[in-house]
């Protein structure tokens, strides 16, 4: 390949040339996609990777012809040598569903709520094939069975709200593959799902590809998913592809500084080494009136003056090890193995020194101790007079402690009781069962508002969505001053000085404190939220998914900030996240929850390096690693079924119904699993304890 091509490559199924999409907006014309070229070959998987706003989804929508009518689309999209651009809705509808199948991000809203899932698959079949009702229904049931819905014949009559998110995504996949399409486009198909369910869905996707022989376009921001599924990767930035290469080549020898930055910014779940992540400074540009030159230049650590002259084309890298590696960087040929002129493209930040770590854990004071914490919610029935028909055992018998200067990661699938545990702690009310001690004070013995306020100072929280957590009508100054006033600080100059100090602490310019949250980007807003949590000098900060709403390159900066603050201020964190790579990176210890119980707890490297409980084992193996070589050879334990609902308080191990180990046990051992609740036990010398009878 040399330079931009106009002709489709021989043998290609789908060929996109110089695709550009722009939308009118109040700020001016937004150039969402600015020249995308790629070819897709039968049976192959192309991954399109990029951060939000990079134009990856818009590209997919343009191929499907599903962009709004006010979008202006230019260039060429040819499918089987037929030009798709310029076809009207009726002609495109002949192609959609038959040649092109699509899977969307949010399975919860993708299915029409008032039709049964069977009907919805039948509809997809009947649009393109002249089938008998019965035949179509039978085929729909087959498809549901194929994508792994148990009791498919029965479940086909169910409505979407009777399915979990993972099950609904399987239905969407069944619809996409119903007419044996040549191409399946998956737009972030697993982003909204739990990691164990993600592994199942990726398997179903691979299966649908082998069943139909379709080519797959995988749109994602998750480099781990890319490493596991892609043949070729297209990295997009600011509406343009900036690097394209076969998957091994891209991960092993990236040439474009942006790709190198992305790979460096992702924490790895399989690596114990604790070096700080390498964030990419700055933010992606707005796609309105872009200045000339490389759009990545303002964020690029190795930019030279020539970068500002003109935007580089996606060109074949001179001296690349394999064919088909191209990058849009004028210095691409100088970059080898993430280094330029013998120095790394991104200088690795220094690891903060942890003084507290030198003191053994047991000698440090505990900032949070939970003993036997339980929380149940009543299940009610009846229209006017509610009567209790059962209980949801959201948190059962949780014991854990967090010492000074320590981060405990709390992980598990959604519905496992992480949030309920957090809320119980944040409530500052005596729990239903067990006890909560914060900084040595038992909540059950808390008397009076003053005592509560004093304790509240010690305990602060950072939420997942920084936009939702900051009042849009308060300036940043007011946001940061509010907790100070709440704990009784009245001196205005003292507050002003503290606000400046806080802004400085989280890496924001103190002069910007008179602005409103809307003026800040997502990462900056999360920094404001962290500053607010730090305002009262807490000893424990509860972090509920603090980086999951942020893009990868921004996320790394916030994680580094959290680590720095921990060292600088001697903070302890209770860190809840579904992204286990982030948890491994930031935590000292980790607790794995399943259906309200802790099944394994211990030092992070022990638990991640040598997981003992079968659930931990499965959970860890489900996480994709951003390295195609590792991904291919890893053994994956895919858990079957769904997380049951925790309404059963009978003794026994709650994981037994899905446990891979349980299946290998003999009958007496199995009886023990189902009749005796396993306790958290350790093997003596280490900190690692698990709740399994046989591990």
């Amino acid at each position: 390949m040399t330079g931009p091509q106009t002709q489709p490559q021989p043998g290609s199924l789908l060929s996109v040339r110089n695709l550009a999409v722009s939308f009118p907006s109040e700020a001016g014309r937004v150039d969402a996609v600015r020249g995308v070229d790629f070819d897709l070959f039968p049976g192959r998987t192309l991954a399109i990777v990029g951060e939000s706003g990079s134009g990856k989804s818009v590209t997919a929508m343009a191929v499907m012809g599903l962009l709004p009518e006010y979008a202006s689309v230019t260039g060429s999209i040819t499918l089987n040598s037929r030009e798709l651009l310029g076809l009207d809705d009726r002609q495109m509808s002949q192609i959609r569903g038959r040649n092109l199948g699509m899977i969307f991000q949010d399975p919860l809203s993708s299915l029409t709520p008032i039709f049964s899932v069977g009907q919805q698959i039948v509809e997809a079949l009947e649009i393109h094939q002249n089938l008998d009702r019965d035949v179509a229904w039978k085929r729909a049931v087959e498809l549901l069975d194929l994508v792994g819905i148990p009791k498919a014949a029965e479940r086909a009559r169910s409505f979407p709200h009777e399915f979990s998110g993972g099950m609904r995504q399987r239905v969407v996949i069944a619809i996409a593959m119903a007419n044996d399409p040549q191409i399946i486009i998956a737009d972030e198909p697993t982003t909204a799902l739990d990691v164990t369910v993600q592994a199942q869905i990726l398997d179903v996707l691979r299966l649908s590809q082998t069943e139909t022989g379709a080519a797959l376009i995988m749109i994602t921001h998750d480099l781990g998913v890319v490493a596991g599924i892609a043949d070729e990767v297209l990295v997009m930035y600011a509406g343009r592809p900036v690097e394209r290469a076969p998957v091994d080549e891209l991960f092993a020898r990236p040439r474009m500084p942006y790709t190198i930055g992305l790979l460096g910014a992702v924490p790895r779940v399989d690596i114990a080494e604790r070096r700080p992540l390498v964030p990419i400074r700055g933010n992606p540009p707005l796609l309105v009136d872009l200045p000339p030159g490389c759009p990545f230049q303002p964020r690029c650590p190795v930019s030279v003056p020539e970068c500002g002259d003109r935007e580089p084309d996606l060109a074949v890298v001179a001296g690349a090890a394999v064919d088909g590696h191209s990058a849009a960087c004028i210095r691409a040929h100088e970059i080898r193995d993430g280094q330029i002129d013998g120095r790394p493209v991104y200088p690795v930040p220094l690891a903060p020194d942890v003084p507290a770590a030198r003191v053994p854990r047991q000698q440090r004071p505990a900032v949070l101790e939970l003993t036997g914490l339980s929380k149940t919610f009543p299940l009610l029935k009846g229209a006017i007079l509610k009567r209790r028909v059962g209980s949801v055992y959201a948190v059962s018998d949780v014991d854990l402690d967090i010492r000074e200067s320590e981060t405990l990661g709390l992980v598990g699938e959604s519905g496992c009781g992480k949030t309920s545990t957090l809320l119980e702690i944040m409530n500052l009310r005596p729990p239903q069962h067990g006890s909560i001690r914060i900084a040595g004070v038992d909540i059950g013995e808390l008397r009076g508002r003053d005592a509560e306020r004093q304790l509240r100072r010690k305990l602060q929280m950072v939420f997942q969505d920084p936009m939702g957590a900051l009042d849009p009508r308060m300036t940043v100054f007011d946001i940061l001053a509010e907790p100070l006033q709440a704990v009784g600080e009245a001196d205005r100059t003292a507050i002003a000085a503290r606000v400046d100090e806080l802004m400085d602490l989280v890496g924001l310019n103190p002069e910007h404190s008179d602005r409103f949250p809307i003026a800040f980007s997502g990462g900056q807003r999360q920094r404001i939220a962290i500053a607010r949590a730090l305002a009262t000098n807490p000893s424990l900060v509860v972090l509920d998914e603090p980086v999951s709403a942020l893009d990868v390159s921004i996320q790394a900066g916030v994680i580094n900030l959290l680590n720095e603050l921990k060292v600088k201020l001697g903070l302890s964190y209770l860190f809840v996240a579904h992204d286990l790579s982030v948890v491994r990176h930031i935590s000292d210890r980790v607790a794995v929850m399943y259906l309200g119980r802790i099944v394994e707890i211990g030092a992070v490297d022990q638990v991640f390096g040598a997981p003992q409980h079968p659930y931990t084992h499965a959970l860890l193996s489900a996480i994709p690693v951003p390295d195609p070589v590792v991904e291919r050879t890893r053994e994956r334990i895919v858990l079957h079924g769904e997380l049951p609902s925790p309404t059963d308080s009978a003794p026994g191990c709650r994981f037994a119904s899905r446990c891979p180990l349980y299946l290998t046990l003999d009958v007496t051992q199995q009886t023990r699993c189902t009749s005796e609740t396993p306790e958290l036990t350790g093997r003596g010398d280490t900190d690692q304890r698990n709740a399994c009878h046989f591990r």
């Binding site: 599903l66 509808s93 192609i95 299915l111 029409t112 509809e123 649009i127 409505f159 969407v172 996409a176």
Partner: protein
Amino acid sequence: MSAALVLRYLLRKSLGWLLMIVVATNLTYFIANFFLDPRANYLQLRPPRTPEQISRSLAQYNLSRDTPLLDRWWHWISGIVLHWNWGYSPVGESVNSQISFRIGVSAQLVMGSLILSTLIGISLAVYTAARQYRFADRFSQGVSIVTLNTPVVVASLAVVLLAIAFNQSVGSTVLFVAGAQSPTVSGFWPLLLDRVRHLILPTVSLTVISYAGTHLLQRSLLLDNINSDYVRLARAKGLTRQHAIRRHALRTSLIPVAITVAFAIPALFTGAVITETIFAWQGMGQYFIQTIGKNDIHGAVAVAAFGALMTAIGAILADIAVVALDPRVRVS
């Protein structure tokens, strides 16, 4: 969900509404007796009647104040329960004959425009929602806002003037501007044609003022759904945009509209007073005003009972519509 279950559910609902109608009607009976005094009708008569005379003439219609209220009530309610006799006006007209005649007239007047305005409103909404902010959408929205705010008198008079101009240009009376039917026509087909020719103008004027509410409500509900993920998935399956909107977006957004329309039925029956007056139709609305003006206690109570019945029918129709449109609704 089986048919038997639906029937049992409807039966239970109907019983509940029946109870509601009974309570409302009896309550209205007592209220009407407090506020309406039929003796006033006799006071203007010349030569003046003595109170005894008035009382005697009212007593034959069970309206005399000399009889205790509870006794009158017992007489009235047992008349209804035993003989389905809703009583008499102060001058002795039977309420039954008035109502039974007028229900038919009102139904002719109202049902046509209700069906028409619902169909027009919904189709216009589907057409314009798919073309949001384009000329057709903005234009029809403008027209709807104008008609929504047009007083019924203005709309009716405009329709009448247009019809007269039309009749004059044709040279014969094609469209009648007054009355429900001509007195001299006989035979099935001529009578039907005559009814239709009388019906057109009031139906048109009622439709003009009432379709816009349905149009604007349905349009905004549709717009909420048109860009939803499931409509996008329906298009990705291979439905055209129009088809996806009609099949996936419309059905979910029809539910609130169906409920609104069903509950509009009682107000339509008794609220078309002005239209009835302009076109000289002897409908329920006119009767409602008349009974109150003439201190006709039994007539007013019967109208109230009819209104309660219509509300019940509207509510049950709304329930049926929801169950029919949304199969997720479990009958329990």
